[in-house]
């Protein structure tokens, strides 16, 4: 057998002169090292996200009470959820909440940011004031508004309004949503203002030369200029609306008589009061499914209409 020495040709040797097997080994080693670095994070993720998610899917198909063993019951919980008027009512409340939460703080945030952009003096002061509700803990905000809207010691009795906003089934959901809107709109205003300040001022100058009024400048320059921010916060608002829990739980606990119940508070009640943890898991997954549908629609619209460009 002839000992043939193969000289590496141009296609077999890289520009750096390293033979392919060594390059492959180095590449594999780099990849391996990267995976090893990621391994702890993946392990944590599997432990705290993937594991509980799989467990939730499993428990949603059981009659688990939250105590002791669980028996597999297939899709019974989901069938029950479709027929459950409490779940339907809570889901409708979630969508009402979503509508209000998209429109009210968004509109106030846009108005507030526009007004702030028009002033130079005290702008930082007003930005700080607008931002304060956002940094205050939800329990504190809730307590403040519970007192302000109290039918006995709040503002109402002093101005002749004798309404128990949180205690009346027809106003409870709106009232809690009002508190959340109050907490949220200042944050939006500050974020929108930051986005507005990144819009090229020459566009406004050009528009003025063309005779554009303030509304036209706002409509055709400001809003398109901050569209990526609007779209992103809109997306986040959808997600936060559907998983809202804290203010409802603190202020009304979903009452009176379920009038301010949202799916998350219903889940809590089912799991810890009614001893139906399996059913609560199915409600959680149903809500996640509903959220996914809303987000998919949002994403389709965003892509088709080029909202982020």
């Amino acid at each position: 057998m002839t000992d043939v020495q193969v000289r590496p040709g141009p296609g077999l040797v890289a520009a750096d002169g390293v033979p392919p097997p060594i390059r492959r080994r180095r590449k594999w080693r780099r990849g391996f090292t990267a995976w090893l670095f990621m391994l702890p994070l993946i392990a944590v993720n599997v432990l705290v996200v993937v594991g509980p998610s799989i467990a939730t899917i499993y428990y949603s198909m059981t009659d688990w009470t939250g105590l002791g063993p669980a028996s597999f019951i297939g899709l019974d919980n989901y069938r029950h959820a479709f027929a459950d008027s409490a779940f339907r009512e809570a889901l409708i409340h979630n969508f009402e909440w979503l509508g209000l939460f998209l429109v009210v703080p968004g509109a106030l945030g846009l108005l507030g940011s526009y007004l702030l952009s028009q002033i130079k003096r005290f702008q930082i002061l007003f930005r700080t004031i607008f931002f304060i509700p956002y940094v205050i803990a939800s329990v504190v905000n809730a307590a403040v508004w519970q007192n302000l809207l109290s039918p006995t010691t709040g503002i109402g009795p002093h101005v002749g309004i004798n309404t128990a906003f949180f205690g009346n089934p027809s106003t409870s959901l709106m009232s809690v949503n009002f508190v959340v809107d109050w907490h949220w709109w200042g944050f939006l205003a500050v974020i929108f203002l930051a986005a507005m300040q990144s819009v090229d001022p020459e566009l406004y100058d050009a528009a003025k030369v063309d005779g554009a009024g303030r509304w036209q400048q706002y409509r055709y320059i400001t809003l398109p200029g901050i569209r990526p921010t609007l779209v992103f916060l809109g997306l986040m608002t959808v997600i936060w609306s559907l998983k809202s829990f804290d203010y409802v739980f603190i202020i009304t606990k979903g009452g009176p008589a379920g009038s301010s119940e949202v799916v998350t508070t219903l889940m809590y009640r089912e799991a810890f009061n009614e001893y139906r943890a399996g059913y609560a898991a199915s409600l959680g997954l149903s809500l996640a499914f509903a959220t996914a549908i809303v987000l998919a629609i949002y994403e389709i619209l965003r892509r088709r209409r080029g909202w982020e460009s």
Partner: protein, 459 residues
Amino acid sequence: MTTSISRRGFLAGTGLTALGLALPTSLLTACSSGGGGDLKLWMDIMGTANQKYFDDKVVAQFQKDTKLKLNTTYYQGQDLRRLIQTALQAKSGPDIVRGASATQTLAWSQAHLLADLSEYEKKYGWSDKLLTWAINAFTQDGKLWAMPMRVDTMLLYYNKTLFGQKGWKLPTNKDELEALAEEAHGNGIIPFGATNVDWTAGPEWLMTVFWNHYSGPDALYQALTGQVQWTDPVFVEAVELIKTYFDKGWFGGGTDKYFSVPSQQMGASFGAGKVAMFPQGEWWMSAVGAFFGKKANNSNQWDWAPFPALQDGVAFPLYELGIGGSLGINAASKNKDHAAEFLNWYYTNRQQALQRMADVPATYNLPIQFSDADIPSGIDPRSKRLLTALNKAVDDGNYGYVTWTWWPPKSDVFVYQGLEKVLTGKMTPKDYCAQLNTTFQQESKTGALPQIIKRGSTQ
């Protein structure tokens, strides 16, 4: 700049990272298992003064007497049950388990989350020292699962000063109660203070009162033992009556205010004379004083009375009986013997137990056997009157049933959640009772009912 790392260095770093992840986990496991050493207890005592009393008179005294260490953590009442339940399910949590109702405790025992106390009961002779009906409520299939924590009843608190000023007499029957409520309401005074803002289960207190004092304890006993249905008119009428009172604005100033005025504000109105009476549990005796006297910037006084009979044939005075919570032992505890030692110390150290009853009104009313003569001097006379009244009620057979002890868990939850729907007009009293009946029948088949205290004179 590129930093290179040797293979050995990388492996060492990975090892340390893994150790870093593993160490907290193992520490958490060690902390939660409660193995050996200190006993752990989670309690729902609120307020600095009340917690200090428990620390001084229970924790410190127990440690002094037994040389065992007891670590106590305090939680808000409604949070505690959820936290303990989650911890028990994870084979973790405190050694000594502060349970909620009797039916709740039995649900935990059926899930094997609580230790069987029967051996300890024999060893320490607890049945001879505690009230039989209270021990029985936590005994199922001959096994004791927890110790009854506090004797509960419902009382009608009233602003004594306001009653004196108006010349009102304490009502003993429905006609007198309604006449008084009419007059108070006409004078711009809320007849009955009530709110469920801080305690969503609050409506069950009212249902307990109306079913006992309108439907009567005999009817309740029959329903709880399956002899009659909850759809019986006598139960529906009681719900209709409570709805009528709410519609008239007698409770809390109206339905919407009942759901929105916090208990502190309602209590302040009671102390200020804007609320005449307050149906509440005996446990409120330790808190109601904050709304009266110098602390509340008024010179008013409070007192309590038994709730009037709301129908002919219902005894007066009548006290509904129940147990406010329980103390058991975590099945996963490695300190069961020491935990039992704590229970034995807490329940059988008679003088200390009676002194706690005397020191803090109604909070430490253990279901232990004692005569009126055993009650320590220096006790608030209103608190003493309660103790003697309850002893007499048990002797005479004039007792009823509180929902949070004798109703199974889901039925109990429905009692207060369903009543919200009735009060807001989303459900009729008839439908409410029908739905309660369905839930109750389903639960009673699963053995979720405690041994109920029978009718007649007992101990």
